[in-house]
């Protein structure tokens, strides 16, 4: 007889992992399933890594509510989970009078949403704070509660903390269908088998529509992914005067092309927004790069194409859910609900931006939904909110580096030369509570291969380390799970092809 869970979470993106982490403080048996070979491989793997202050969302929407709920929590969450966070503040930059009017509206909207300490600053003040800003600047909206976070680390840390507090995670395990008992969902089917549970939470991101349709909920809801393309600049070539986020003035089309610092030191530029079909189309296009480059140049004219070291595209889980607050006419809100027609099902959907910024708030709302449904959530006496961090060689002083190498010589061996990532760091991730088993998993966790040579140096070395540590041949080491091997066969071994 298989174990029965209290809660099964479908999807290991930032939302699923954050929900697992928040629920793991209660006496619940939790299982999180993820269809990919690692957590955080979907939308969570490719975004601006910005914590929004909360002035963008329309008042009355769940987007506004959860963003505001989350905003004050980041110092605590990042400290507990050992994740880099900088409450850098952000700017929305206007370059003409019309845009200044928009900033005024944004300021009012922010105040309604409960965003504190916002102010409109003069062009002079903006130039003083960021001399690289365009000379066309007319003024800016300053939101000091905006911030920057390491999204990859956050997803891993949240999941790891959940695991340390008893949550089970199954990777490479896609959801297939629900198990029903009348109108109650009592579990799920996966290729690994069936798992029973009193509650199932839909945190399937881009596929949240498919999951809820299988539950017979919101047949009209559709995720229509909007792709955003980005480029990454070499930190040796370019940085902002102070770590921050520079938004252009938003239009009906969206927040526009951002120039933002990241906590890895690189400035990133993007995203544009184009609807894509099929859902996994993460193609970067020539036109897309032109579009974001043109946009970025309007904010920071001194950036140069020679600084570009990488490009990527991410997908927003854009949905068509209407806002349920009376009097608010808005389509595209988050779904955070227990649908009336089904029992045992918590439905999350349409969690595009500010999904990352709102993820703790979404998790808190899930807890409230469970309580409202009559669950007595008892806290575990031994719940540990702290996730132990692992050493990051490049962040240490020379004295600390020397001590670390002395204590564990594998930290003395540099595997990624551009980002100075050591063998010790890679080994630690392979043997972590959620083991990194692919190149991309190593990359997201350690920053290996993200620098100016883009893995040219480290790739064969990382494949070798993975092969040695996992005890499988190098041909079976993949970039991102099955069907993505690096190597095909040994040389000389031509088999039937010869």
């Amino acid at each position: 007889m298989a174990k029965e869970y209290d809660v099964i979470i479908i999807g290991g993106g930032i939302v699923g992992c954050m929900v697992a982490r928040f629920l793991s403080r209660y006496k619940l048996d939790i299982l999180l399933i993820e269809k990919e070979v690692d957590i955080g491989m979907g939308t969570s793997s490719a975004n601006s890594a910005v914590i929004h202050a909360g002035y963008n969302a329309l008042p009355g929407t769940l987007k506004a509510k959860t963003n505001a709920m989350s905003s004050t929590l980041w110092e605590q969450i990042s400290a507990e989970l050992g994740v880099a966070f900088n409450r850098s503040g952000d700017y929305v930059v206007a370059t003409n009078t019309d845009q200044m009017n928009t900033l005024g509206e944004l300021l009012q909207q922010g105040k309604t949403n409960g965003v504190p300490e916002m102010e409109i600053i003069s062009a002079y003040e903006m130039r003083k704070r960021e001399p690289l800003i365009t000379q066309d600047v007319a003024g800016a909206l300053w939101a000091p509660t905006g911030g920057l976070i390491d999204t990859f680390a956050l997803t891993v840390a949240a999941a790891e903390n959940a695991v340390l507090n008893g949550t089970e995670i199954l990777l490479d395990t896609p959801f297939e269908d629900f198990i029903w008992e009348g109108k109650r969902i009592i579990g799920i089917h996966t290729p690994r088998g069936a798992y029973k549970s009193r509650w199932v939470i839909n945190a399937a991101g881009l596929y949240a529509d498919d999951v809820m349709h299988k539950a017979g909920v919101r047949p009209d809801f559709k995720i229509h992914p909007r792709r955003g393309e980005y480029v990454i600049l070499d930190k040796a070539d370019f940085e902002l005067t102070r770590e921050t986020v520079l938004f252009p003035t938003p239009t009906e089309k969206g927040k526009g092309i951002v120039v933002t610092s990241t906590l890895h030191g690189n400035v990133i530029v993007g995203p544009n927004a184009n609807f894509v079909d099929p859902k996994e189309d993460k193609t970067v296009t020539k036109e897309g790069i032109e579009e974001i480059w043109t946009g970025a140049k309007k904010l920071v004219p001194s950036i140069n194409r020679r600084y570009i070291i990488a490009n990527f595209a991410g997908l927003r889980a854009h949905g068509n859910a209407p806002c349920l607050t009376p009097g608010i006419n808005y389509t595209g809100d988050f779904i955070i609900e227990i649908p009336k027609e089904v029992k045992g099902f918590i439905n999350l959907g349409g969690l595009e931006s500010p999904g990352l910024s709102s993820s703790p708030g979404i998790a808190l709302m899930v807890i409230d939904l469970l309580k409202d449904a009559g669950e007595t959530l008892l806290e575990k006496p031994n719940w540990n909110p702290i996730r132990e961090t692992r050493p990051v060689f490049r962040h240490l002083s020379p004295t600390e580096q020397a001590a670390l190498v002395k204590a564990n010589p594998s930290y003395g061996r540099v595997i990624c030369r551009c980002e100075t990532v050591t063998e010790g760091e890679i080994l630690a991730e392979i043997h972590a509570p959620i083991p990194a088993t692919t190149y991309d998993a190593i990359k997201r966790r350690t920053w290996t291969g993200t620098g100016r040579c883009q893995g040219g140096f480290d790739m064969p070395r990382v494949v070798k380390i993975l092969s040695d540590e996992l005890g499988i041949p190098p041909e079976e080491i993949t970039k991102k799970g099955k069907e993505s091997p690096y190597l095909i066969r040994r040389t000389k071994d031509m088999g039937e092809e010869a």
């Binding site: 190498v405 100075t420 140096f457 799970g481 095909i488 010869a498």
Partner: protein, 424 residues
């Protein structure tokens, strides 16, 4: 091991080995090579094809044999070596911080340093290559390491972007190993590698090169499934209707090499944006006194033999700097490139150099000229310092010429000699 050395060389490729040998032979007592890989030789070890040594040994050798000659000489001279060790930082005062699994975290002081870190390959984003990001997109050198060092094939059906030398050599290598190279695409209207590699690697193996072509899109989410190629006009704009889907599982990029100078920057060394390497004089000294540079870290050479020769000069100069009691003020005359010359190395000549020896100049042109040309070096008064004729000039092939000692007096008076190229 010691903590103070006369000369420390960073990197043990051909430039580093030659520099170490020359430093030792020219009077430096304590010479140390720091190498990040587990054996000496640098990228030569993965270059198992022939074509090395023709200039220096008058012999056609594979890369590892060429390297072995210098490895044995260096070890025979008593040069110290630390392997599997990465240099983390160099200061302008020539303090070096390095780290290693075996010997730990170390700090060293050098009287002179030779930078010999070589170069790295241009990556996908640097050429703005669009498409998805599946497994199966590698630089040619990474694939070369896998095939020749690790013994693994990174794919079955290849498209190679760029007609650089490594790309063409890998096209042949992969074909010999049973893979199919579907196409080599070159965005320029001309070959960017050496003609001899085009003949020996592509023509001899029936591999198609398409000039004025590039990749428009990479297809496949997990692993490369195909690429979409497209013809381009002289401004690199795609020619509509010329698109072609080429099924393949691997894309190799051979789209240029960039001197690897992140450490140099930390040391305060100024870089030439055109070469990507330090500004150097004819003794391969950078702007930072006591810090020299040898080989592909300065500019990317066509032939390893020239890297070795540059290494000799840098090593000798480093030894002279390290062992000299007093450092005299050096007077330089800068060289400038004009008229279709993209760059000239060295960037400046030490006015005293020509007293004792000839000075070698190496340069690349901007665009190909398929007719007889003459390269002239003259001072601003029009006094000829040297000249040379060539049957053609191609961007893929370095032009080498010398200024002889008889130009010593003219060089003393020159302010900024100009190197220019003319059709004959």
């Amino acid at each position: 091991m010691k903590h103070k050395y006369d000369v420390i060389i960073i990197g043990s490729g051909p430039g580093g080995l030659a520099a170490a040998i020359a430093a030792k032979k020219n009077g430096a007592d304590d010479v140390l090579i720091i190498e990040r890989d587990i054996e000496l030789g640098g990228i030569l070890l993965q270059c198992i094809h022939n074509g090395f040594g023709l200039e220096i040994f008058n012999k056609d050798m594979p890369g590892p044999s060429y390297a072995q000659h210098f490895i044995e000489e260096a070890l025979g001279l008593g040069i110290e070596v630390i392997l599997d060790t990465m240099v983390l930082d160099i200061t302008p005062e020539r303090k070096i911080t390095a780290t290693s699994k075996r010997i730990g975290f170390i700090e060293l002081q050098a009287r002179a340093i030779v930078l010999a870190m070589g170069c790295r390959e241009r990556s996908r984003a640097q050429i703005m290559l669009p498409g998805t990001r599946p497994a199966g997109v590698y630089t040619a050198g990474t694939a070369q390491r896998w095939v020749n060092i690790e013994g693994y094939m990174p794919g079955k059906r290849f498209v190679i972007l760029g007609s650089g030398d490594i790309g063409m050599i890998m096209a042949r290598r992969l074909t010999i190993e049973g893979a199919k190279v579907e196409r080599v695409l070159e965005i320029m209207p001309y070959l960017t590698g050496l003609t001899r590699n085009y003949v020996q690697c592509l023509i001899d193996y029936d591999i198609t090169l398409q000039k004025s072509h590039t990749i428009k899109n990479i297809l496949g989410n997990k692993r490369v499934e195909a690429i979409e190629s497209v013809a381009v006009d002289e401004k690199w704009n795609p020619v509509p209707g010329s698109e072609e889907i080429i099924p393949c599982d691997t894309v190799l990029l051979s789209v240029g090499l960039i001197p690897e100078n992140e450490l140099s920057k930390n040391a305060g060394v100024t870089l030439d944006p055109i070469t990507g390497g330090p500004f150097v004089d004819d003794r391969f000294m950078t702007n930072v006194p006591g810090i020299f540079a040898a080989g592909n870290v300065v500019h990317v050479y066509d032939l390893v033999d020239w890297v070795t020769e540059a290494g000799y000069v840098a090593g000798r100069s480093a030894a002279n700097f390290a062992m000299k009691e007093k450092i005299t003020k050096i007077s330089h005359v800068p060289l400038s490139a004009s008229e279709n010359i993209r760059y000239v190395v060295p960037h400046a000549i030490n006015r005293e150099s020509l007293k004792e020896e000839t000075v070698r100049l190496q340069m690349r042109v901007k665009t190909p000229i398929e007719e007889h040309v003459r390269i002239i070096v003259e001072d601003e008064q029009g006094n000829l310092l040297t000249r040379k004729s060539e049957a053609y000039a191609r961007p893929g092939e370095i032009i080498t010429m010398e200024i002889k000692s008889d130009a010593y007096d003219d060089v003393q008076n020159a302010k900024q000699p100009i190197v220019s190229l003319h059709k004959r």
